[in-house]
Point group: C2
Chain length 136, copies 2
DNA sequence: TATTACCCTACTAATTTAATAGAGTTTTCA
DNA sequence: TGAAAACTCTATTAAATTAGTAGGGTAATA
């Protein structure tokens, strides 16, 4: 299940991407328009700033803005930052790999086999979508 | 993230599918071979029986066995029973649909748009794999 | 220099997951 | 027939994660 953090983060990014210019948008505006708790959204936008997706401007007329243009932002990167691993089990994760304590051998594990396919298919989707593609 | 329930359930099903005959296999045997807490596995197998995937036999020489043959069991059905919705948000779920309280319009929602593709790609994988396909 | 708006830390409530405990029931086989 | 094997069921709990809240701090700008 997609976490609210990811959901809200995506909505906020889409909101910013849909702006005609690159002027900073206040947290309060996004929170209101997208029905998100402002405080929660604050922490999400902060993490998107720290990971290089957003820039911010303080003081009057301040707010958040996209650093890159929407067509340069891959869903793969956003999902990894917001949601974490794309894989459903750590043993098939490219960026968050871990071995399973149970499972003596990945190569013969049926779960591994299936989840590898699921991961690849999800990656396909994320790689083929930029932020621009998902705004209507 | 895949729940342990689903992971263990899949492993147990695969274990049963790999049997040469259809004789009942004891919970304790599966639990030991697949490194699963026996009590936890009990409840998982029970739910797989109630949903028509497994049959059981009580008493000495009893245990669980597959009702259908492995190539007739679609991953789609198993995943829905063990993990629940395949979609990552309820608003794109085929079998567990729910509207979002936030989101005024699904058709213009960027999250909806993206997650629809992710769901379809996952479904593709699950529909193309039977229990037989994932045992090595 | 006052105001606006981002920045940061800490805490908490709710939910879900992953078990664990223990008693009960059915079936089989000797 | 009776004891053991093995499934069945309910209830409880511990741990982890998520989602949100509270509240003050800091920087920038008009």
């Amino acid at each position: 299940m997609l976490s609210k953090k990811t959901k809200y983060g995506l909505k906020a990014l889409a909101y910013l991407a849909a702006q005609s210019d690159k002027k900073p948008v206040q947290i309060s505006e996004i929170a209101e328009k997208e029905n998100i708790s402002q405080k929660f959204l604050e922490s999400i936008l902060l993490s998107l700033r720290k990971t290089g997706f957003l820039g911010s401007k303080k003081g009057k007329g301040g707010g958040y803005y996209l650093i890159k243009s929407p067509e340069e932002i891959s869903m793969t990167d956003i999902m990894r930052v917001l949601e974490g691993p794309i894989a459903m089990v750590p043993c098939v994760s490219l960026n968050f790999y871990e071995t399973c304590d149970d499972c003596p051998d990945e190569n013969t594990c049926s779960v591994h086999k299936l989840m590898l396919q699921v991961r690849d298919s999800a990656l396909d989707v994320y790689r083929n979508n930029t932020l621009k593609d998902i705004i209507s």
